[in-house]
Symmetry: C2
Subunit: 352 residues, 2 copies
């Protein structure tokens, strides 16, 4: 080992789901939206004045922030934008979780939380979900350095009521409670109305799922003005110019097109409900999902074998070889046609 390696920050990096280059694969492994983004996005690209790329983008993404503020009925000073919700949450960890007390999150949850805690040297504690993958609210009524969990949770899809979440936020008024609402647009109710009552609440959402823009990298947080201003101070200290000029315009178009947003999210919800019925018939069990995926286990056949068999048939789903969830596969909701092909493949794997 070289001496300079003594000063190197060592981390176990997050391993993202596979992004196969083969276009013939049915890709149900990273919770992408099966529908293209709003037509406004396509128009923006066609008409974009590429010459303007020689200039720096607006570092505050003002127009995008205004569009989001309009859409969510809050003041622009309450909106923070970043390069995907991963950038937003990572920045929020760095900004708000500077405590010697551990931050807390569920044992089964988005697998980036412990990675961020690790990279920023934040102590953390995992609170086990119950056997139905539900949060036990009592676990969160204790001394801590901050709280984060997704609602609906990932990779389970389980949605918790606002009542339950409000109890946690209200008890923990001395720390920041982050609710990661990456999947909220598929049938859950957002915490946004709680912002009027609680100044320690930060809500994070993304354009990657419900707005069909995983490839554009846009995420945002909504919170009280003071919280957002702290977040911006840190962001401007790390990288002033993040969301590039084209991406800011793409985001604005996507936010404005409310009817397309409703149409595509509803279509995904309908497909999800049909898929639930079909999976049940095939002997799958799963917690009820309010997201764009289903976290399913089969009564007889091990999840890993199903995952591998599907892969052979060029259908990618997600599998984690981790305690408590190593008998589950996470299936993203695709188009009706893709889900028919999935069910057909599962029939052949399970029944033969």
């Amino acid at each position: 080992m070289k001496n300079w390696e003594n000063n190197v920050r060592r981390v176990s990096p997050y391993v993202p789901g596979e992004q196969p280059k083969d276009k013939n694969i049915i890709k149900l492994n990273t919770n992408e939206n099966p529908y293209p983004p709003s037509k406004g996005v396509i128009k923006i690209l066609k008409e974009y004045n590429a010459d303007s790329l020689r200039l720096y983008p607006d570092p505050s993404s003002e127009e995008l922030v205004n569009a989001l503020a309009d859409r969510y009925g809050v003041d622009p000073s309450q909106i923070f934008v970043g390069v995907g919700s991963d950038d937003v949450i990572s920045m929020a960890f760095m900004t708000f979780f500077n405590s010697d007390k551990p931050i807390i999150f569920p044992d089964i949850t988005y697998s980036f939380y412990d990675v961020w805690a690790d990279v920023y040297n934040i102590p953390f504690e995992r609170k086990p979900l119950d056997n139905n993958f539900r949060i036990n609210e009592k676990d969160y009524l204790c001394e801590n350095g901050g709280i984060i969990f997704p609602n609906p949770n990932a990779p389970t899809g389980v949605y918790e009521s606002l009542d339950k979440i409000e109890k946690i936020i209200s008890y923990n008024s001395d720390v920041i409670v982050m609710i990661d609402e990456a999947y909220i647009d598929f049938g859950g109710e957002s915490c946004i109305p709680l912002l009027k009552k609680y100044d320690n609440l930060l809500i994070v959402q993304t354009f990657s799922k419900s707005r069909s823009l995983a490839g554009a990298r846009i995420g945002f947080a909504i919170g009280n003005k003071k919280l957002i201003s702290y977040l911006n101070d840190v962001k401007f200290s790390v990288n002033s110019y993040t969301i590039n000029s084209i991406t800011q315009q793409i985001g604005i178009e996507a936010v404005k097109d409310e009817s397309y947003f409703k149409e595509t999210t509803n279509r995904i919800i309908e497909t999800r409900e049909r898929t639930k019925a079909n999976l049940k018939k095939l002997g799958f069990i799963f917690p009820d999902s309010k997201s764009n995926f289903i976290f399913a286990s089969h009564k007889e056949k091990p999840a890993k074998a199903i995952y591998e068999e599907l892969k052979k048939r060029r259908i990618y789903v997600r599998y984690w070889d981790k305690p408590r969830i190593n008998n589950f596969i996470r299936i993203t909701i695709g188009t009706d046609k893709e889900m028919e092909k999935l069910i057909y493949a599962l029939e052949s794997i399970l029944i033969g």
Copy 2:
């Protein structure tokens, strides 16, 4: 103050140069390129398949990395890409500067270095440039936690020879030495050949200046394979998907178009040399610049007054009210026409 504010990371954020929305302003304040990006970039945008934005981008930006490796004659494993060189350097601070010993950089330099040190709690020490704004190499031959400086330096434009830099790299084999080559394409010689001899060297470059893509946000680092792999581990722990799909394609087009790159950088160098002669005639003094800007002081008229007078005439240059440099303005090299207008305005300010 609320209790949750105890856990908040407090920083003094970097203040970027003004980005006025008025298109009639002659903008010589943030070192942007006056020429549009390569025609390939324009074509990519026109033809881009917006539907593909529903999918996550390639997290490793493989094609862009390959294009850069080809251009710079290194292995793809030696290239790291990020959201502008600010993202790359910030990530490198986090990865390589984990020492109790202070990192060192010049007292007059890119104003983000102390901001990053602050945000990541890295001790640092500023070494004064000499009266000609040159690095005194002896200052860097001491125990330290790492070294960073730009070559050419910002905001002075002063270029140091590879011999001098090699002495610093070679003495400091136990720490990482980062050379920030944001402005290297305007007449300096890159450190890239030194990579064959030194494994503690990290070179950072950007698409924002010489490739006319400040608005796209692409930066990159070149170093030995091991160094780049540590950097990627940290990057994947902070945000796996950063450079979005469109931007990766834009970058590839810009790297490939070597003839346009040469044409525009040469044009800027020629304009710079003419501007130097004109500024001298008007009584300005300045260190010789090998970058796309000139850092100039007037023999009689205070810099701040010149800056303000130019602003009234809708010409923006950069001014810092900081020790040692508060009698200088930094003038970005624009088109010949823009520089003629600048000289004309300066004549009217200085001569009347």
